[in-house]
């Protein structure tokens, strides 16, 4: 084999009691690329990251980071990885700078490197002004940025970001995305888990769609989109109450089984391209549905997920920005199975 992958996962399985978190997944990440692990809450994304970060022992299968086995050689793996996101946390009572200094020391970096590296990362993540304030005074976005900075102290060869923007407001999310993109452009190898399709689409080179502990689709964003089929007609109605009527109209011009609705939006496969849009426009006018937007577009990863699993991906993101912790998530997963 010419290129040994930076991360290699084969047949990885893990159960918690009766709950199967991972049912044998395979993943590969080439050095310098970004793999997006995409799936809803409870799909097994976090469990996969926990195994790779040496936090959790798998039941079966193997996982390697740069050739080092995460179970047999965890000490080596830990020197190569950085971990941030919902699994790793920053200390609330220490200042931002103290947090970085502590992590640097625990990486056994020389004191001078710890200081210079902390300074550089605080600047890079725009935390200089807040560096000497306790983290409990930080906003959610600042915490994530500090968390990200801490995971980069040791210049990791591979970075695991577990849902780095879950619970953030749109602006903070955009900030974090911009910072992740900058890392990616520098060639950082990255495993990114997310339940946001847009996030995977924007940041990842390749995407593995995971559901119920299995990889159900794999490829680039483009490949996944084209596998779903061609373009769709999307109708955005003025009043949410009209969305079912819009869906009925779309059923009359295309495959009724492929019609989807979501809040204000209904879509159907555009089997005849622009002609389908014209038909839809005509039919909507006939049915007197108030429309704010009517478009022909390529499928999004939402459509991909729906196509593969028969249900939308983003269904369990809590609105208040609360991020479920590991234990609670396992409970949710358990309940979801019953």
């Amino acid at each position: 084999m010419a290129d040994k992958p930076a991360v290699l996962v084969e047949g990885l399985s893990k159960s918690f009691g009766d709950t199967v978190a991972l049912a044998g997944i395979d993943l590969q990440i080439r050095e310098g690329t970004v793999l997006g692990l995409l799936g809803p809450n409870g799909a097994g994304k976090t469990t996969a990251v926990r195994v790779l970060a040496t936090l959790l022992q798998p039941d079966r299968g193997r996982a390697e980071v740069f050739g080092y086995d995460v179970v047999q050689q965890p000490a080596q793996v830990r020197t190569l990885i950085g971990l941030a996101g919902q699994n790793a946390a920053v200390d609330e009572l220490l200042t931002g700078r103290q947090n970085l200094r502590m992590v640097g020391r625990l990486y056994h970096m020389p004191e001078r490197d710890v200081r210079s590296r902390s300074k550089a990362l605080l600047e890079r993540f725009e935390l200089v002004d807040a560096a000497n304030r306790p983290v409990r005074t930080y906003s959610g976005g600042m915490r994530r940025r500090l968390d990200l900075a801490a995971s980069l102290l040791n210049r990791p060869r591979v970075l695991f970001l577990d849902e780095p923007t879950t619970g953030l407001d749109p602006r903070s999310r955009a900030d974090v995305w911009q910072m992740i993109r900058a890392l990616v452009s520098e060639g950082t190898t990255l495993l990114l888990t997310t339940q946001y399709l847009e996030e995977a689409d924007r940041l990842a080179d390749r995407i593995s769609v995971i559901d119920h502990g299995r990889v159900i689709a794999e490829g680039t964003a483009d490949e996944l989109k084209s596998s779903t089929g061609g373009q769709v007609v999307e109708v955005r109605v003025t009043h949410a109450a009209d969305v079912d009527r819009a869906a009925a109209v779309l059923s009359s011009i295309g495959d009724a089984d492929a019609v989807t609705t979501n809040d204000h939006v209904a879509t159907v496969a555009a089997e005849r391209g622009v002609a389908s849009v014209a038909e839809a426009a005509e039919a909507l006018r006939g049915a007197q549905v108030d429309v704010t937007d009517l478009a022909l577009r390529r499928p999004t990863l939402d459509d991909v997920f729906l196509d593969i699993t028969g249900r939308p991906a983003e269904e369990t993101v809590s609105a208040n920005g609360d991020r479920p912790g590991g234990r609670r998530r396992r409970e949710q997963r358990r309940k979801a199975r019953q």
């Binding site: 959790l56 000490a75 971990l83 699994n87 009572l93 990486y107």
Partner: protein, 277 residues
């Protein structure tokens, strides 16, 4: 076992075998101790109230019960209840102080801080040793404050013996912290850690020789109290600080308990930390 072979092109790396030496293990633990001590300083109100509490206990017991107890035959040899109480109540303070290890670890676990530590190439014992050492430092400081308050209200110890008493008490508190390390890593949250620790600690502290001599208790309770490690440490501390009664027996029992607790609970808690999921 897979090893990274140098001949393969692409992603191979030589990180060597990172060894955790005793030196790095201790420096990691010192970093963690620093973290927890910073927490104490960063929460001034918590610091004030948690310092007032043991002082309040000293004052309450001395002034509420002292009058009645000073003339009890078991207390009389000590001259005053203050001299009987102070070396004993030190043990109560460190025993309850040690429960902080359970609460802090459970909280760190829930917040994901432990996950970060476990993903770092640091010693597996460092978080636990760092936490229990922070308790030891805090326990030592609180016992010193209690001593000063005691001296102000008429506690008259033998000074050299007092140093020995404080040492044995504080080291016993450190050993107890390792029990709570196991508790903290085994319960789902800090509220449960607190409740569980209380259930363990309360009977040990009160059914002991800390406040009164066990000889006044009903016989079934006497059996428990006389074999309770807290009684041994309280009696050793009392004998050292006052010079009254034999030192050797309670001191040997205390050392045996300290060694026993460490031998059982240090490996148990480190194992738990290592295998946590």
């Amino acid at each position: 076992m897979t090893t990274a072979t140098a001949g393969t092109s692409g992603a191979t790396d030589v990180v060597g075998t990172p060894r955790i030496t005793l030196g790095t293990a201790l420096s990691d633990a010192a970093t963690i101790t620093g973290r927890y001590l910073t927490h104490i300083v960063r929460q001034p109100r918590l610091l004030i109230f948690s310092t007032i509490q043991p002082v309040m206990f000293v004052l309450l017991f001395v002034f509420v019960f002292g009058g009645a107890l000073t003339n009890s035959p078991a207390i009389q040899p000590y001259g005053s209840y203050k001299d009987f109480l102070l070396p004993g109540i030190f043990v109560q303070t460190v025993a309850f102080g040690a429960t902080q290890t359970a609460i802090a670890l459970a909280e760190d676990l829930n917040r994901g801080v432990i996950d970060r530590f476990r993903s770092l190439p640091m010693a597996r014992s460092a978080v636990l040793l760092g936490r229990t050492t922070a308790d030891l430092v805090r326990g030592f400081a609180v016992v010193l404050i209690m001593t000063v308050v005691g001296l102000m209200i008429g506690f008259r110890p033998q000074f050299l013996g007092l140093l020995g008493a404080i040492a044995i008490v504080v080291i016993f508190g450190f050993a107890m912290s390792w029990i709570y390390a196991v508790v903290g890593l085994s319960v789902p949250n800090s509220e449960t850690a607190q409740a569980a620790s209380f259930v363990v600690t309360f009977p040990l502290v009160f059914a002991s020789a800390v406040f009164i001599p066990p000889s006044t208790m009903p016989s079934w309770l006497q059996v428990f109290a006389e074999n309770n490690p807290i009684t041994h440490v309280a009696e050793a501390s009392r004998a050292l600080a006052t010079g009254i009664g034999g030192v050797a027996e309670p001191l040997l029992w205390s050392l045996a308990w300290i060694v026993g607790l460490l031998v059982v609970f240090v490996p148990l808690s480190v194992r738990r930390y290592r295998r946590m999921s």
